[in-house]
Subunit: 418 residues, 2 copies
């Protein structure tokens, strides 16, 4: 099979559709999204049948039960997929928004208009619901989507795409707006990330391996999420009860997520009051503790933390604890070992709160709130296509606006360049 | 020489400085910029002496007189360089601006704060004034700059950087904020564009060859400018006198620029009234004309335009002319052959003006104005670091805002994730 030719053909189809989407209005897009939701529910039986093939193949291949679980489409998950499509229909349309407009001395009016990016390639792994989620967000923002899901979910993804395409096209959306790279071969990924001038943006969603491969080989811009090594700094002027609740929530509420705390930094003057109570609570919750020397003198049975541990994204009930002599040392530590994802200071000191907000360079910097709140839903962005740890184009949770760019528009009356 | 090690060391120095720049305020940056301007003027003799070495070497190597001219630092150019630094000091500081702020149902206040990108690599060719221009814009936006100028200008660039660094550091700016890759070897470029996690953004400024090489090999995000194949569409409802002035200005005022018109599209119903007058004027101005069949029946001595000509960025007094049957055909033509840079419609028809603005996908889309006005200065953005033909992060003229990104800030009062 000519994989290069196949991918190029699909991408070109998406590009042509992207151009036609520029003339589609909000009402049409919303009608299409609602219709897509209806058809997903109406075809639940077919979906489950196709999904069953993937599940059986995964089991036969001996894939882990966690993976098989992520792969499986239940009635509940199909319902949630449809619900997600309906929610996106409800969100405000970012396209066409004029974010600024001003007049120049020569009378020319210049503005910035929010427009679709064009063709967005989504490369993802086993969860088939990403097919519907990513499609809905890209479509609402006026983009054509080029989908490349994991090979384990190929039957499920194929079925979902076929339903979505048909439903959308019945509402006047060009079929190429939802395009699926129906090739399980990894070579297809390598081709699609090189299609400069046809594909405008790649968003890889998956493990670090996938993301590194995409970044290292892409010629198309990539928006990506690397790891989250998040910190809470308990300042000397913290409300220690609040600090305890925030640290506990940041570590324990859902440790497997990118915005969970991995290292707790404690200001020296409050370490002896704060740490014994806090660490006892962590211990009771089954958190494995690794601490600096000072921490280990204040609380028994804490393992010694090694320097490498500070770079680690545990995604588990494991925590580094370090006593620092002041906020400057905390900020130094965060700059050196952190991943610029999410950091919190707990303090009642106004000046230090403001300095921390200004000087810490992370996608979300918080005062007196749990790191777990760095999330599109929690921030009120509506749906989220992912979290960017990049600084270019989008940083932090990405909603519909991040799936658009702007162009300059000019309303003239015959102006010339002198 | 260990080029990899050298580039890594310089970039790391810049990264460390970028972190320290987060604590530098607007007044300090402005004082540094003014001081830099003063020192450039005070050291004009040294600058010209060092520049003379480059000029002599270039002449000895037999480089073109255009290149030698671009390389030469006259008193006037040195004065302009200093003036540029002072102008950037006058511009508003984008850093710290809170672009939005809102409250969530749990009482948490979420905002977006504009922050520096970090380390910006500028790769440029022979004009040494870029060294000062790029440095001033990066510094004002709080970024450290990693400069890599053309090998022909190495003595000039080295002297400029040394003056700027000293002046800035006397005002408390870390020296690493202005870092120069003092290696003429092209291998240095290859190293710097791969420093993911240290360099945050690369902006190549130069010919298409340089830009392609950078894009194809970079692992760091790149903001680039490819060619400008710009169009003017003269609609059937155009004021034909205005159309004539706009087309003439767009082609002739400065044909060597990226926003000059390369193809003029004329609506069929007005072609026989518009073209003879217009083409006679172009002919008198020395414009070489290439036209479609219809054009050639309306005006004698027009060469036949070939399909390949429509992709061409002439940067010269050459123009393609095509008669189209309506605006849809014009938009089809622009989408197929254009470079998404700048397009203008000349019309008095409101509905078509609005459709053109909405549906044409270019960095600047204009009604009744010359394409030559797509420019940071003309748009009122202050100084310009370049024009982006990308859609990610920045599109069109890039000012100070485009040298920043945003982070989320959260003002909490003990909020947790449920």
């Amino acid at each position: 099979m000519d994989i290069r030719g196949f991918v190029l053909e699909k991408a070109t189809e998406a590009k042509e559709a992207a151009r036609r989407l520029l003339a589609v209005n909000t009402e049409q897009k919303n009608r299409a999204l609602v219709r897509m939701a209806e058809e997903i529910v109406a075809n639940a039986a077919v979906l489950k049948e196709e999904n069953q093939k993937d599940v059986e193949y995964a089991k036969a291949k001996g894939l882990s039960s966690a993976l098989v679980d992520r792969l499986t489409l239940t009635d509940k998950r199909i319902h949630e997929m449809a619900e997600g499509l309906r929610e996106v229909a409800q969100l405000p349309d970012p396209v066409g928004e004029i974010t600024k407009m001003w007049q120049r001395p020569n009378g020319m009016v210049v503005g910035r208009m929010r427009v679709p990016i064009g063709v967005i390639g989504i490369i993802y792994e086993s969860r088939p619901n990403v097919t519907a989620d990513a499609t809905s967000l890209c479509l609402k923002a006026g983009n054509a989507v080029l989908l490349r899901g994991g090979s384990e979910a190929i039957n499920s993804n194929r079925a979902i795409v076929s339903i979505l395409r048909k439903a959308a096209s019945e509402e006047g959306i060009p079929e190429g707006a939802i395009t699926f790279i129906d090739v399980p071969d990894r070579a297809a990924i390598m081709e699609m990330i090189k299609l400069e001038g046809i594909v405008d943006l790649i968003i890889p969603r998956g493990g670090e391996g996938l993301i590194r491969t995409v970044t290292e080989n892409a010629r198309v811009p990539v928006l990506k999420h690397y790891k989250g090594v998040c910190h809470v700094f308990v300042d000397r002027d913290a409300d220690l009860k609040m600090a305890e609740e925030i640290c506990f929530n940041a570590k324990v509420q859902r440790p497997g997520t990118c915005n969970a705390m991995e290292t707790m930094l404690v200001d020296e003057p409050v370490a002896d009051r704060f740490l014994p109570v806090m660490l006892r609570r962590f211990r009771e919750a089954g958190v494995r503790l690794k601490g600096c020397e000072k921490t280990r003198t204040l609380f028994a049975e804490v393992e010694e933390v090694k320097e490498d541990d500070f770079y680690e994204e545990y995604l588990d009930l494991v925590l580094n604890v370090k006593v620092v002599k002041d906020m400057d040392e905390a900020m130094e530590h965060i700059a050196r070992y952190g991943s610029s994802h999410t950091e919190t200071i707990v303090t009642d000191n106004y000046e230090r709160a403001m300095r921390f907000l200004r000087e810490v360079d992370s996608s979300a910097v918080m005062v007196n709130a749990s790191t777990r709140l760095n999330d599109g839903g929690q921030f009120g962005l509506g749906a989220e296509i992912g979290i960017s740890t990049d600084k270019i184009h989008a940083r932090g949770p990405m909603g519909l606006e991040e799936l658009t760019c702007t162009k300059f528009i000019v309303l003239g009356s015959g102006q010339l360049r002198e």
